[in-house]
Symmetry: C2
Subunit: 365 residues, 2 copies
Amino acid sequence: MDMEAKDYVKVPAPELKLFAAKLLEKYHVPPSHAEIVSDILVAADLRGVESHGMARLYDYYLFRLEKGYMNPKPNLSMKKNFGATFLLDGDNGLGHVACHMAMEKCIELAKKYGVGMGGVKNSNHFGIAGYYSMMALQEGMIGICVSNSQPLVMPTYAKKRLLGTNPISLAFPAGESRPFVLDMATSVVPKGKIDVHKRKELTVPREWGADNLGLPTDDPGKILEGGGLFPLGGPAETAGYKGYGLSAAVDILSGVLTGSSFLAGVLNATQRPEPCGVGHFVTAMHVDAFMDLEEFKGRMDQFVEELRTAPLAEGCDHIYIAGEKEFARWEENMKEGVPVHKKVWTQLLGLCSQHGFTPPETVSS
Amino acid sequence: MDMEAKDYVKVPAPELKLFAAKLLEKYHVPPSHAEIVSDILVAADLRGVESHGMARLYDYYLFRLEKGYMNPKPNLSMKKNFGATFLLDGDNGLGHVACHMAMEKCIELAKKYGVGMGGVKNSNHFGIAGYYSMMALQEGMIGICVSNSQPLVMPTYAKKRLLGTNPISLAFPAGESRPFVLDMATSVVPKGKIDVHKRKELTVPREWGADNLGLPTDDPGKILEGGGLFPLGGPAETAGYKGYGLSAAVDILSGVLTGSSFLAGVLNATQRPEPCGVGHFVTAMHVDAFMDLEEFKGRMDQFVEELRTAPLAEGCDHIYIAGEKEFARWEENMKEGVPVHKKVWTQLLGLCSQHGFTPPETVSS
């Protein structure tokens, strides 16, 4: 969606969280689960990843719960647990709950073994990958999270969408500086960015996606209708096969290795009654197992400082560190309220009246 | 280098290996270490990664050993060993020996804990990352290897080379199909590809690199002289910040976390007497900890089959799986001999006569 102030209401984060949790409970999600999911959804909006926050609450989650496509009370069970590793069955519940539990288990294992690593199968869309990798930070750990997702990306030289935008997130603690938090889709851009360009009748760079023949195009309509996104790197000439390789590796870890679905087997959350079959893979690493945490944090600060003070390219005024923009947005939104698109807000207000409860006040409407 | 048959001699792989090992021993590398290094060097040439094989034997390794810049008999010592994790000190020896030992340790730990993970500090250039990730395959494991390297890549919005082409490799076993082996630099292209274009007086795509102002250029000369490579994705518009983020994450794992050098602190192997300060980070994961190995292999075959049989993009005749081209090259080179560029061969023959031993016969010269 476009970010124009007039199209948004702003809601204080704590109220928005309570509101989302209350709604989830109306769809039979247990309070402890609803609290986790709402925290993750609002974290996405706080960080400025609007596409993964409240905008999806109904379409991706409540709708599927309502229809019985997704299990509101999953029996999350350990299928394997060997040494520092495990496999968790998400029982077709909310992806957030399963992946949150998996990362907690990783952290527990990392305390004992230096590293903890686990897969999640039979899960669903889980919001932003960065939330789970960042869970490790407060424990003095490094967090890693990857997940597969519905096919939107064409492998190099193919004209069929077979790979998801399969995100990769790594989070590293730092000292004076903000943590380094990489949270990226393995496509050049997310589908939402193509949508925006189409709505505004703009062309897109030919490295973003392909038409229905698998050829680069600058027409966002052709990418959306019958075409697909390019993996990171774009077409083969600019090394799109590397993004394809990374995305495939994410799918193997999340889908093949966990026993979940993979490639075209991962289903779209908004269209089909069958379980989506999403899989996740998470890791926590105890910094202290490798280096004294305080020393590591000091070295991270040096690392960030060296990047930040590098000579600027012509016409540029700032070198960014992974996660920096999102932390700035977080702070702003914590202070001024979380922007929710009016279309989304109207949808949510409708649910409020349907379920007979009062929505939170917006900051200034 | 350009791949034109007339510029190459071919040497049978076993003889080439013995030859490289013999040369390394002349520079006081112990026989057991020389065997490891020569196997890794020849593996690079066998897989068609010419830039990381015999072409570097003198410039990157023998030269530094000769000058006393690198330690031929390192005392490889475990600095930390906690649960399933460890930190190894490479003692400024050959990177191959240290990383090989680290991956062996990971495999041993993964047998016990499902996963083994370790860092290497005070190391040197180690050849191809894919060699180490592939070590896990024969044990029914998944291997991961990353390393930092001398700065060649400009972070997004900077005009200084601060990041290496920091490779990422992941290797997954399969059944009937070849293993899936991703082995990629986190830059769009390696520096060698820019060299070739300059020599041939060709322009390059503007996504490959920047000039000395940090701006995209199609002139390979400007990239080489004062400019730098773009991270995977190219400039910001085509999501180069993702490649920058991945490369930085590799540097944090390999350099910051291990206590090795990072960013501009990693030195060029061919120019400076000081230790290069390269760091590596490796992981082995026991497939059986997550899923029965045979089942996993069958699922990998399905995964590969689904990619391979996808509808082809217009004008394309084959969808590749990561590592496929390299396995084909390996087979060809095992049969017909390993191509060594005549310039490199001449250099090596010179060393033979200097040290008074007979070089191997070439296949057909």
